[in-house]
Amino acid sequence: MKHLHALGLGAVTALGMTALSMLPAAAAWEPTKPVEFIVPAGTGGGADQMARTLQGIIAKHDLMSTQLVVINKSGGAGGEGFLDVKSNKGNPHKIVISLSNLFTTPLATGIPFNWKDLTPVAMLALDEFVLWVNAEAPYKTAKEYEDAIKAAPDNTFKMGGTGSKQEDQIITVAIQKALGKKLTYIPYKGGGEVAVQLVGGHINSSVNNPIEAVSQWRGDKVRPLCVFDSKTLPYTDKIQGDLSWSSVPTCKSEGLDVEYLMLRGVFMPPGVTDEQVAYFVDLFKRVRETPEWKQLMKDGAFNQTFMAGDEFKAWLDQAETTHKGLMQEAGFIAGN
């Protein structure tokens, strides 16, 4: 096996040389066997959808010489997947897509890994969060909902979210802090389930990602109150009546000073070379140019920030500090 691998690498170097002369930005490395794309979450969730879309786009446009194989390793809130990548030191045929659990899982469970154990490749996009209520609820604006929470005793309002001690609950804790009132947080397995529980009236509100709740919004079953970003979303296609994503105000402008965006990024195992990282950065740059990717971004109202290299590392460093602070405040750190 090792022998074969060495042979393969030799061939690739030769190939890479030719490729270099043809493509200005191409790297001198190319995969020689199928690349495993680890999803540290279950099938059907946001990260899984994005990974499988990427797989489809790459196959359809022939962007890679070998196959991309999606593998779900969701155990231990994604810890299983990250540990797998961490332990595959120097293996360039493995990449992993991240959710916020890149930061939250090691903090909440004590599973030993950190983003610094992996090699950051690129930020593909940031996922937005929106405050939703049932369309039949009397609250037309975030302000009205906030006032209702403030006027009622603690734990009157039920907030549903995905998982425990992860992004949805972190946002919930931040909302509690901003309003000075406690909410009852109820964790569910997936975002789609949360949206349906909101439609069924079993919870009062949710902080679903746009793509998780958009179909319920189009059916006029739920109502978006505000988005947890610093500016309103740029997407102006009509979704429900005359409303579009751009008509949803920011939470800050509605008196709820909470901002949160979730990383959708790609990482490689530790110890890979710069050429190998450059290959994948270039690959994802080309993916971003395809119409299918643009459609996904529009459907899910994603924040289309793209980052790689040092800029990405600096962002990760900052995000880790933020998460640590948020989780410490909420008492979510393991061993507390």
Partner: protein, 504 residues
């Protein structure tokens, strides 16, 4: 409104009946049967692997291919359950209870025919339901919050209590082992790891499929080896008329079928899924049937009940996926991802905006299941004849297939080891007359039941009254209590009347 549905459906048949789509159906069913036969691979994995292939097709063709793989897997799961006592899919576990004893007494062909036919009946019932009352059913599904879900799980456990021949104490011990195993891994409500003792391999908990492959498959092989490498199924005759002969006996069980169809549809929609549906249908059939006492020894009704329910549930699970965007089964979850990639937004508007897609899909469900039934029935004599191969040859092959299956679940060698451990555990439990079914049921549903229970209590601020807070949840809980306490109630009745008849 129903008339509109029929016009739409007629148009749907036109789309699904396209020769290319029919070809996709045949390919999908065949692939699905293979996936169903291989333990571990599973419908969800199979669909996930093939999903990228469909991106270049039209959404309707793509979903026809993928759903047919799903139907095929539902059919195929029964084959290894009956022949080797190895459930290819979680929902086929209950099929082994009577299907395998039938095979061992030389009635494999009969058992397979009954399983396939019941599958078809269940699926057909569910599709008719989807055709007629889709919007109403979607509304019903919305009623289910955590408390209602827990009530359903409670009913599933309760309808199972007392069904085994072993003493209740052993049933409870077995069930508790199952609950303990189900608790390993991440606790969804607190986000903490439980019972993993720092072992990375345990992060994911015990996968149900690994446990089942080990407990049933490996355990069975160990038992057979002890009995002197004799595989009694070899007496099976290959009789091409077996299908016809079995069909003549099936109409007798119409009541069981109908009951299982209803249980299946309900569990598929709520969404609890095909596995609890099959267990619940089996448990209730055993309780209600005249031949209840003979269940577990090769009673054809014990094959009809779980297979009908599993297929009805598997099919009905498509409805909440389409109408609400919430998947009723793991496979539906993967299909849901596919819908989004094809640019379709599942949810309340799908039936309105993408009527062509929805009705094409529903029409393909009718056609796909008919195609599937014909395909699998022709294979009955072939599969039944596998049992004529001497055990000393077939056993190593089964072992290898089990090992591959266990590996495929998570691509993890540790799981193969776990499968072996479960195999020994299964053997020991069988030798000491502990029933395996409650253990398996607890592994499958333990986690979900606990989750629903704790979500309910979170919502109610810790008050148990939440389980009696509305007519729906009260009714289900009441049914559960009656089912759970039935042995006691029956005993009391018997004492009052001074006789010892079993409840009919």
């Amino acid at each position: 409104m129903i008339v509109d549905n029929f016009i739409n459906l007629y148009h749907g048949f036109y789309i699904a009946g396209d020769p290319f789509n029919i070809l996709l159906m045949v390919i999908g069913i065949l692939l699905g049967v293979i996936i169903g036969v291989l333990p571990g691979l599973g419908g969800a994995n199979g669909v996930a692997i093939l999903l990228p292939l469909t991106f270049s097709m039209s959404p309707t063709s793509a979903i026809i291919l993928l759903t047919c793989i799903y139907w095929g897997a539902l059919f195929g799961g029964a084959i290894t359950s009956v022949l080797f006592n190895i459930p290819g899919e979680p929902w086929s576990v209950a099929t082994t209870f009577d299907g395998h004893p039938m095979a061992r007494s030389g009635r494999a062909g009969e058992a397979l025919t009954a399983a396939f036919t019941s599958s078809f009946v269940g699926a057909f019932f569910a599709i008719v339901m989807i055709t007629l009352i889709a919007p109403l059913v979607a509304q019903f599904a919305l009623q289910f919050g955590p408390a209602e879900k827990f009530a359903v799980y409670f009913l599933a456990f309760a309808s199972f209590v007392g069904m085994s021949k072993e003493p209740p104490a052993k049933t409870i011990v077995s069930m508790m082992i199952g609950f303990a195993l189900a608790a390993v891994g991440l606790d969804m409500v607190t986000g903490q790891l439980r019972l993993t003792f720092g072992v990375t391999e345990l992060l994911n908990g015990f996968d149900f499929l690994i446990a089942v492959i080990g407990l049933f498959g490996i355990g069975e092989i160990l038992l057979t080896m002890e009995e002197g490498l004799e595989f009694r199924g070899k007496a099976a005759k290959i009789d091409p008329k077996i299908v016809w002969k079995t069909w003549k006996t099936l109409p007798k069980y119409w009541a069981t079928s109908l009951r299982s169809c209803i249980i299946g549809c309900w569990m598929g929609i709520t969404p609890a899924g095909a596995t609890p549906a099959s267990f619940m249908a089996y448990g209730i059939a055993k309780r209600v049937s005249k031949n209840g006492k003979n269940f577990g020894n090769g009673e054809i009704e014990g094959v009809v009940a779980p297979e009908t329910a599993a297929h009805a549930a598997g099919t009905a699970a498509m409805l909440p996926m389409l109408a609400l965007g919430v998947p009723g089964s793991p496979t539906a979850a993967v299909l849901l991802g596919g819908l989004l990639i094809w640019g379709l937004q599942p949810g309340p508007m799908l039936f309105v905006e993408q009527a062509e897609f929805v009705w094409g899909l529903i029409a393909s469900m009718y056609l796909g299941n008919i195609v599937g039934l014909i395909l699998v029935l022709t294979t009955v004599p072939l599969f039944a004849s596998i049992l004529r191969i001497p055990f000393s040859i077939i056993a190593p092959v089964i072992l290898v297939i089990c090992a591959i299956g266990a590996y495929t679940v998570n691509n993890n060698v540790f799981d193969v080891l776990m499968m072996m451990v479960f195999g020994v555990l299964g053997y020991l439990l069988k030798k000491t007359n502990y029933p395996l079914a409650p253990l398996v049921l607890a592994i499958v549903l333990g986690d979900s039941a606990e989750e629903a229970f704790r979500q309910s209590l979170l919502g109610s601020g810790g008050s148990l009254a939440v389980f009696w807070s509305n007519p729906l949840v009260s009714t289900i809980m009441g049914l559960g209590l009656i089912a759970g306490l039935w042995p006691l109630i029956a005993m009391a009745f018997a004492k009052l009347r001074g006789n010892t008849t079993q409840p009919a």
